[in-house]
């Protein structure tokens, strides 16, 4: 028994090494001076911060971080409000119409947004939504609503109806019931939704690269990719930029790990 246990621990150690490897290489590369041609495997032995300074200015990461924060926060807040509102009637009044609506909303989950890229792009150009916060925010909200509605509808279904009835007997209107009784109860599932869609929107590339191409409206991923296109040979700068982009969300993950893992997997388990 002890022997198999030791083998298990050795195996776990090898797995951890393998999975930490890319992050190790990212760190060594981002601290290496431009003229240092030593292997990426070797730690530089000095702290070369210039890569970070250069990429911060070169890729305009300050602006990109600002854009990312605005877009992510507004999109998440809007998605939660609109999603929770939609979920309530779908969970409580299962008329034939509402059942159809629920199926319609959820089936959008399979539609990959990229398949309608051409018409969306044309529409954005026509209405002047290119490179605007509101355009990309409405897109993010739309494509994150199905999962949000799904999670909220499931959660509201577990709230006992007796609560609704008691509130109605006390003279609460249906709308008031939702705002005053149901909304406060949604806190735990809201934490899940915030992490799930927040991570998705923060990391988004496939929308942002099309709709936020102007330098001042770029998000982190778009800035990095255009920077990478210009300085393909200057790997140190790109690595420093990637490390900078990854750091905030990694720190959040390490501290709130439990919420991240349950949150992100809630989307997969139920989706």
């Amino acid at each position: 028994m002890n022997k198999t246990k030791k083998r298990f621990i050795a195996l776990l150690f090898i797995i951890s090494l393998f999975h930490i490897l890319p992050f190790y290489l990212l760190t060594t590369t981002s601290f290496k001076a431009v003229d240092d041609v030593s292997s990426k495997w070797a730690f530089p032995g000095y702290w070369y911060i210039d890569n970070f300074i250069n990429v911060w200015h070169g890729a305009n990461l300050g602006q990109a971080f600002f854009n990312n924060i605005i877009i992510t926060v507004v999109s998440v807040v809007l998605t939660i409000i609109i999603g929770a509102f939609a979920a309530y009637p779908l969970a409580r009044y299962k008329s034939r119409l509402n059942r159809f609506m629920y199926t319609l909303f959820i089936s959008v989950l399979i539609v990959p947004p990229l398949t309608i890229l051409v018409p969306l792009y044309k529409m954005f150009v026509d209405v002047g939504a290119m490179n605007s916060y509101w355009g990309i925010i409405l897109l993010h909200v739309t494509f994150h609503l199905p999962l949000t509605i799904f999670l909220y509808t499931g959660f509201i279904g577990t709230i006992p109806r007796e609560l609704d009835e008691a509130a109605m007997i006390d003279g609460c209107t249906r709308v008031g019931l939702f705002l005053r009784i149901i909304m406060p109860l949604l806190k735990p599932v809201t934490a899940t939704v915030v992490i799930l869609i927040g991570v998705g929107i923060w990391n988004d590339y496939q929308f942002s690269v099309f709709f936020l191409s102007a330098p001042e409206s770029r998000t982190i991923t778009v800035s990095l990719s255009s920077f990478f296109g210009q300085y393909t040979n200057n790997i140190g700068w790109v690595a420093a930029g990637s490390l900078t982009a990854v750091l905030p969300i990694t720190i959040a993950y390490l501290f709130l790990q439990r919420y991240f893992i349950t949150g992100l997997n809630a989307g997969s388990v139920k989706g």
Binding site: L12, I110, L114, L145, R174, V246
Partner: protein
């Protein structure tokens, strides 16, 4: 005076009552509640349903993506697919990204889950490390692995150069780069499969295994006859989810090879991007988008129904 005002009051009161009752009724009506999903319906119509129909319309034209003039050419774009020399390979790549990463993620994810289901010290750290890539942008994950596989000064080539004096240009090799990208996508999302399987394993009662051990069943037959059937719901979720994720892969390909050389490692999504923006062939790009939509819907729905049916049987 006094009498008059009293009269007046009694006259106006029913009106007020009627008004408040109407307002109450409105707030209580189910019709109004259904209005609560109206914003969602509007957003979906504007950004999904309408563009989807518009996309079919564009795919029947020879529009170049910016000019006002274009012609309707019927099904010409779809006929063009049949004679496109690249498309078969691109569809094949799309399936490798979809099916290949699904298989790898599930096999490795299940293995990891079984390992982490043992009572060993330090498994929490392993879980944290394996799950970390899930929260990172796939584009940046692609860059990080690019540093590893890259031709000039790539980390892997540093090792290869210890044995031979010829560095390998792996990302330019059309046979290999598709699998490298599949590997990176797998690496990134093993954590999700692992956690789903871990939850599935923990929900299986230990009694089954004890009974099987009493009957003298081997570890392998326990795995085949107890673990796998009882994990069926987790298997369904993981497979369908990974299929959809892999078939629409975009960011990692952009980061590592940009679909090249040529279309050698392109998927339908990156090919569509190329044709729309680089070749300004919007009509054809729209028809590729529709093809991708059909493929993803058919594959994921077939997988879903097949796996659900098996779940019930078992």
């Amino acid at each position: 005076m006094h009498v008059e005002s009293k009269l007046e009051r009694s006259r106006t009161r029913p009106e007020i009552k009627q008004k408040t009752r109407f307002f109450e009724k409105l707030l209580n009506s189910k019709a109004l509640l259904n209005l609560m999903y109206l914003p969602t319906l509007i957003l979906f119509s504007a950004f999904i349903f309408f563009p989807f129909i518009k996309g079919i319309d564009i795919s029947l034209t020879n529009w170049d993506g910016y000019s006002q003039e274009f012609r309707r050419i019927g099904l010409e774009n779809y006929k063009r697919m049949l004679s496109d020399p690249d498309i078969l390979n691109v569809i094949k790549n799309t399936f490798i990204y979809g099916v290949g990463s699904t298989l790898l993620q599930n096999i490795i994810g299940l293995g990891y889950a079984i390992l982490l289901n043992q009572s060993i010290k330090g498994k929490g750290i392993v879980r944290t490390i394996v799950y970390l890539p899930v929260i990172i942008s796939p584009l940046i994950m692609g860059y990080i692995w690019y540093f590893f596989f890259q031709y000039n000064g790539g980390a892997l080539n540093d090792i290869i150069l210890l044995f031979t004096d010829q560095p390998a240009n792996l990302l330019a090799d059309p046979k290999l780069n598709v699998w490298i990208i599949t590997f990176v996508n797998t690496f990134q999302y093993i954590g999700v499969a692992m956690i789903v399987y871990l939850a599935g394993l923990q929900s299986i009662s230990k009694d089954y295994y004890e009974a099987a051990q009493l009957d003298g069943a081997s570890a392998l037959s326990q795995f085949k006859n107890i673990t796998l059937p009882l994990l069926a719901p987790s298997i369904t979720i993981n497979i369908v989810l990974n299929l959809i994720g892999g078939l629409k892969l975009f960011d990692v390909i952009k980061a590592m090879t940009d679909g090249g050389p040529g279309y050698a490692s392109a998927s339908l999504s990156t090919m569509m991007y190329q044709i729309y923006f680089a070749r300004q062939d919007a009509g054809y790009a729209a028809s590729l988008g529709n093809l991708m939509f059909v493929i993803i819907c058919v594959v994921s729905l077939t997988a879903l129904f097949y796996l659900r049916k098996r779940e019930v049987q078992e």
